[in-house]
Assembly symmetry: C3
């Protein structure tokens, strides 16, 4: 069966870059290709990593995620193959592919004979990562494509802090509907019997089970598996005058 | 042969939502996946329905159109499978999938064992509609996926009114080239021997057979199979200072 | 093996046009479909032709590139099948598909029985070019689809002029990262031992091998196989206050 290859980049859709990566993949494998998004804000490794985290489990085991948000392209930074949750990830070694902690199998992409020739120094996604991804999709073994390494780059991401019944997190993304995505994991709040979420001037009681049809802000577990603040039929970002980085606090009452 | 699955949403391309829907489809079927557009204006069910109408016949019989413009996600609104013109449609029961009148076969999507688990209350497209679409693409029968219903939601769309030789319609979309798409069906005007279209201050004689190379506004049957006003090489919206909702009238002379 | 079909248009992604073209292709062939970009600036044949030039070699031999930037749609301009570098190109005969010089095999698309019926005069990409592309992907012979012609339209593109050690070119594209893509071919500058690039007020010594990590503008051979000016981690267009059409000069010292 054909492996699935998913793409995630900050290349945008104005230029042909994302399409050229897909073309190289299609030319070198029979994988089914799906674009998760090409509009991660330019060079925003942290948000890219959050989308990797939220999307990986949607892919079948054995599939490959080619993720490129790569401000260091062409410098000495390594390319990496990562085996994580029985999927393969390919991209730059800058924290995009790796959780902040936990064991991982990683290979440094260091076999030029498996790349396109010549390699454009500005476009490793097309000339190095896409050919390597195609080979993984074709069931080649990672140790044909790189050398085992044990020190992948880990990026500290602004994570929510728990202090007794209180959680202090932040808005990490505002989506196109104006929903505020926080870095507060579902597991931290789902077990609470009662809770109050505070963001900007708003105090929101409890967890909603859906956006609903009211006009007041709601807090709920969204599709990122993170706490999310929304205004039904409107923009929470506009209504609450919030943006990325704003503090979100939750007070839990567990019994 | 693999079934074709076409996607149409208002998710935009900034966020990973449309890509995640495609990933779930690809993970659960061998269907060939095509995105019609993900940039229907947010929550604009009527325009979405017009695009469904204009695109359905382009799909081969037996294919599936997953269409999601769903301001009521997570509320009590039903999900629907619709059989229409020998194609399958999947999405919310809010008029997006259904013509304003006519008989249809419809099933309410009410078998949670065929969905992803858990379901994010904010993202039925990914967690309910995509798995159901994948099952239809895999030739599962609709009565395994839902219960027959006879009362799909029908949305009144602003339709053109005919009064003798006069037609009164409206601009329903301005495309990226600045062309004005109206709700006046081709059938209403194609049979006229002569006609005059009036929009804003412009009076346009006859139907053009192509955009052409002049500089004056033209009226013609466009690719939506609707009357369309264009300015060759320019933007009719700018030149005529028109926008969605503006009145368009046609006076026919049939002999 | 399924042929690859790549798409390149100026249709944008707001409207369903690009998706409808893909749907017609998918309905009529088993080709794997990849979108290079749909956001060529509207009617910008020259930039579209540069992207065709830069992308063609990424496609496997035998694949088909459907390229449509077509301000003359519906007028008497011909449609064309072009055989070039062992790939097939399909689109309007306006210079988009053809290099400024060199021999080519070309067929005029003139067999209406191989098109969709009816043809919308505003949308030949969907109703003429996509069906013809699907047939080529299905290994139909070009002389079933059109008549040999020997006079394809050639468009003069602003090309770099060489005068002894001096090259005078121009910025032809500013990408989403703010990099300045010029029309100065890699072959003209790669052989120089030393060179100085001048653009706006900046004078840049030598060729960088990568964007690097500094803060000063660099000149390098980019992924278009053209001379490109970049500012590491920033926008060259903003820093140097440059735009499309600005003059770029290079002075070479070859020994």
């Amino acid at each position: 069966m054909n492996r699935l290859v998913a793409l995630l980049t900050d290349f945008g859709t104005d230029d042909p870059y994302a399409g050229q990566v897909a073309a190289v993949l299609a030319a070198n494998s029979d994988a089914q290709i799906v674009s998760l998004t090409h509009r991660v804000p330019a060079h925003h490794v942290q948000l890219g990593a959050s989308i990797v985290d939220a999307s990986l489990e949607l892919l079948p085991t054995g599939s490959v995620l080619l993720a490129v948000v790569d401000p260091g392209v062409g410098t000495a930074r390594r390319g990496l193959i990562v085996r994580r949750d029985d999927r393969w990830l390919v991209g730059p070694d800058n924290g995009l592919l790796t959780p902040t902690q936990g064991d991982l199998q990683c290979w440094s992409i260091d076999r030029p004979e498996t790349w396109r020739d010549p390699v454009a120094p500005t476009f490793h996604a097309r000339d190095i990562f896409a050919p390597v991804t195609a080979r993984l999709a074709n069931y080649e073994r990672p140790d044909w494509l790189g050398s085992l390494v044990h020190d992948p780059v880990r990026v500290d991401r602004p994570s929510a802090r728990v202090n007794g019944p209180n959680i202090r997190g932040a808005v990490i993304h505002v989506d196109a509907f104006g929903n505020l995505i926080t870095n507060i994991a579902a597991a931290l709040v789902q077990t609470a019997h009662m809770l109050e979420t505070q963001v900007g001037d708003a105090r929101i009681q409890g967890l909603a089970t859906a956006y609903g049809t009211g006009h007041e802000p709601v807090a709920l577990i969204g599709s990122w598996n993170l706490l999310e603040i929304a205004v039904p039929g409107g923009s929470a970002a506009q209504r609450l005058d919030c943006r990325i980085g704003d503090v979100v606090t939750v007070e839990r009452t567990d019994d």
